[in-house]
């Protein structure tokens, strides 16, 4: 039987999945790898280890899980955005890959924000001027490495390009990943000269640009053998995980939005136009030509709830996080909406959208003598959701949103899902395909093979299996909290700065 194989190269793991020709999941295998923090602001990964984990996940999926029954018609790639890996002329990495969470380019991003070309670059590239952007990272390399080293860099590529290069020997970058580099003009689909000049690099130092359904990649014969494939299997470059997850949630046209809460979070909409926000609070990434995925990312998703569980969740069961999470959420269910007036600002990791304030910090406000641990648990959940809502509220100034599709390990937990529905006052849907990034890659592959007419047609195959209806009394009450939440987030900014100064040794 024919099938489609997708590979999602994420922040903590790589996942190889197989789908049948109607986009139903057949099976998957995954492998994890670590992130290194040699300094507080640094987040790096070992590209060789990632590549080996890719080989392992693909090999065990293709050789063990699928066996002889299935024949992959295509292999499609998806990956995290914003990574930078400098390689030399032989294609050898000159250091570890610097990933999205890395903040070393803080000063470079600020300088760019202040520079006259900053606004033009944001409008042309769609990527917020932030240390996550490869543009800021390459500037950092320029400013902090000896010229002899910088000249040795043959190309700056991403982790995804490296994996594809290892497998095929071809150095290409798809339009979608390119649109997250801060170096790519999302309107003309070419490298943006203003941005490249600012970074101090030439277009030759970046990979060749290709559309996301580019299928002219050829696996090296060693890998064809290792994976037991034939040369008939198409290798398709694919897109970024954020854009694929939106497609895989069935959202490709205006009117709908996706909310993801995993370890971090994001709210995204799709459309044929970019969102031009004068305060530069949104990203505009490219799914495919003329199809933009816009929205805002938050640092403080499930990772904040995990922090709470580690610090305040006392579980008798050794190392079992999932069990403790369930117990705490059950406690929180016994508290009425609004956590008895206890409000939480979740900015433990600083914040991106909509504040874009790296110095923002967390706070519980409104505590009184009757509050118990369960109020704090509920306030933590609600705070994470208010933050997503503050992104959503701004997005709705530009787009009308009818339906919300939620995904990610945290958003789909019943309490989170209900609070999301209540706070937004909208019906919330959970789809049959839990891993929307892989599903999106499969839809892209199937469209390329002609099974679907276009991406809109493909997106229609996604079905919702669970819905949450908003409680309008809760919605009205949450609205008042959301107002206070938003006011405090901006009002406390001076005090955040002062506290951060005290937190830095």
């Amino acid at each position: 039987m024919d099938c489609i194989v997708t590979l999602d190269i994420g922040t903590t793991k790589v996942k190889a999945s197989a789908f049948d020709m109607s986009a139903n999941l057949i099976g998957w295998r995954q492998g994890t790898y670590p992130t290194f923090h040699p300094q507080p602001d640094y987040s790096e990964q070992d590209s060789e280890q990632i590549f080996l984990t890719v080989l392992y996940a693909l090999k065990s999926l293709l050789n063990d899980e699928l066996g002889k029954k299935y024949h992959p018609s295509a292999l499609v790639f998806g990956a995290s955005m914003h990574s930078v890996l400098p390689i030399d002329k032989q294609g050898v990495p000159l250091r570890n890959a610097v990933i999205w969470a890395d903040n070393r380019g803080r000063n470079e991003a600020n300088a760019l924000k202040q520079a006259p070309e900053g606004k033009l670059i944001y409008e042309a590239t769609g990527t917020p001027l932030h240390p996550m952007s490869p543009l800021a990272k390459i500037c950092w390399f320029h400013n902090h490495t000896p010229p002899t080293w910088f000249e040795k860099v043959y190309k700056f590529i991403s982790i995804k390009e490296y994996v594809i290069y290892q497998l095929t020997g071809q150095l290409v970058i798809d339009h979608s990943i390119a649109s997250s580099t801060g170096l790519f003009n999302i309107h003309t689909l070419t490298w943006e000269k203003l941005a490249l000049d600012f970074a101090g690099i030439k277009p030759q130092q970046l990979s060749e640009l290709v559309p996301i359904d580019f299928g002219e990649l050829k696996l090296k014969k060693e890998y064809v053998r290792l994976f037991r494939l034939t040369s008939a299997t198409k290798v398709i470059v694919g897109a970024s995980d954020g854009c694929l997850a939106t497609l895989g949630a069935g959202v490709v046209t205006e009117g709908d939005a996706t909310i993801t809460i995993g370890s971090s979070g994001a709210m995204r909409v799709a459309g044929n136009q970019v969102i031009q926000d004068s305060q530069q609070r949104f990203f505009n990434y490219l799914l495919t030509k003329g199809k933009y995925i816009s929205g805002g990312p938050t640092n403080n998703g499930g990772v904040v709830f995990e922090w709470f569980v580690q610090q305040f969740g006392t579980s008798g069961i050794h190392l079992d996080m999932d069990y403790t999470i369930k117990q705490l959420l059950m406690e929180a269910e016994r508290v009425p909406a609004g956590a008895g007036g206890l409000l939480f600002l979740p900015y433990l990791l600083g914040e991106r959208a909509p504040l874009w304030n790296a110095n923002a910090r967390g706070a519980y406000i409104g505590a009184n003598i009757t509050h118990e641990r369960r109020h704090f648990i509920r306030a933590t959940v609600e705070g994470i959701v208010y933050e997503i809502y503050s992104i959503g509220k701004l997005l709705q100034q530009y787009r009308s949103i009818q339906n919300l599709y939620i995904n990610g390990a945290y958003a789909t937990l019943p309490l989170f899902a209900q609070v999301l529905s209540d706070v937004f006052g909208k019906t919330v849907y959970i789809n049959d395909k839990h891993d929307s990034a892989s599903a999106g890659a499969a839809l892209l592959g199937l469209t390329h093979l002609g099974i679907f007419k276009d991406l809109e047609d493909a997106a229609r195959t996604i079905r919702s299996v669970e819905t949450y209806q908003p409680n309008l009394t809760h919605h009205e009450r949450y609205g008042r909290f959301a107002e206070i939440f938003e006011r405090l987030s901006y009002k406390l900014s001076e005090d955040f700065d002062a506290l951060v100064a005290l937190q830095t040794p």
Partner: protein, 291 residues
């Protein structure tokens, strides 16, 4: 040694015990307790009082029943040099070898097997500084060691060494558990991963890796598979081959040296594993980088 320190007893017969001391300090003493570099492995128990010390460049607040374990070369003392009111007891062991980047060997007196001794050394370094809260057994063991040495009953030498081993085992088990009580598995695993990378050439066993995380081997293997997708040994091999890939392309080292460096006992074993995982032999892979 200051006059307030009472050397518990004569240790002439135990060359591996450098000191066994009980210190009772009735008044605040200035300049008595500066930050000092320690020699030997020191197990220090707080009995009374509250102490504010710098241990390995970080401020710690210590209360009765807290236990500090220091490795040779690590530092401890009060930031102002003041010794506060209270009492302490400690034992300092002189290991046969435990220099920087060298594996720990306690000496022939210990019945703990060589591999577990090496693991002990690695655990102490990776969890440094070791501060265990609210643990009574170490001081009880110190008291029993003292009594044995004082009373010189039948075969007391054997008993003393057994008690020291007991002290070490108690500390290691408590260490893995305390470290993990509040942590989720991914964090415990990240710490293990760092240890694996720091001594890639060590012939790690699943039992050793499990001990680092504070789990039995069966539970450990299950957790690693669920979390990482790999069995513990496959995960280790993955790290080894990733390091080998780097060395093959970035250094001129011989294949045999790279194999040994990354924990493969022969270049044959290295080549087959490398080919199985990457589709290339190490030689082909190196050449490919030079094209």
């Amino acid at each position: 040694m200051s006059p307030f320190v009472q050397q518990l007893t004569s240790l002439a017969e135990f060359t591996h015990i450098k000191e066994l001391i009980r210190l009772k300090n009735p008044i605040v003493k200035l300049l008595e307790w500066p930050v000092r570099i320690q020699s030997g492995i020191k197990v220090l128990c707080v009995l009374e009082g509250k102490f504010e010390w710098i241990i390995e460049n970080k401020l710690h607040f210590l209360y009765p029943n807290d236990v500090v374990v220091l490795c040779p070369g690590q530092s401890l003392g009060s930031p102002s040099g003041t010794l506060e009111i209270g009492s302490l007891a400690w034992i300092t062991l002189q290991p046969e070898s435990f220099e920087l980047h060298k594996e720990l060997a306690l000496g022939k007196w210990s019945a703990i097997n060589d591999n577990d001794q090496k693991l002990l050394g690695r655990l102490l370094v990776s969890h440094s500084p070791v501060v265990l809260n609210n643990l009574k057994q170490p001081y009880e063991l110190l008291q029993r060691i003292e009594n044995e040495i004082k009373q010189t009953e039948f075969a007391y030498q054997v008993r003393v060494n057994q008690l020291i081993d007991e002290l070490i085992v108690t500390i290691v088990r408590q260490l893995s558990q305390q470290q993990n009580q509040r942590r989720d598995f991914p964090q415990a695993f990240a710490q293990l991963e760092q240890m694996l990378r720091d001594s890639l050439d060590h012939p790690w066993t699943v039992e050793e890796m499990a001990a680092v995380v504070g789990l039995g081997s069966t539970a450990f293997t299950e957790k690693v598979k669920a979390f990482s997708g790999f069995s513990p040994l496959n995960y280790l091999i993955n790290i080894r081959i990733a390091e080998a890939m780097k060395q093959l392309r970035q250094s001129q080292k011989s294949l045999t040296d790279i194999a040994l460096d990354t924990g493969f006992y022969s270049s044959q074993h290295f080549s087959t594993t490398f080919k199985k995982l990457t589709g290339y032999t190490p030689g082909q892979f190196r050449k490919r980088g030079q094209e």
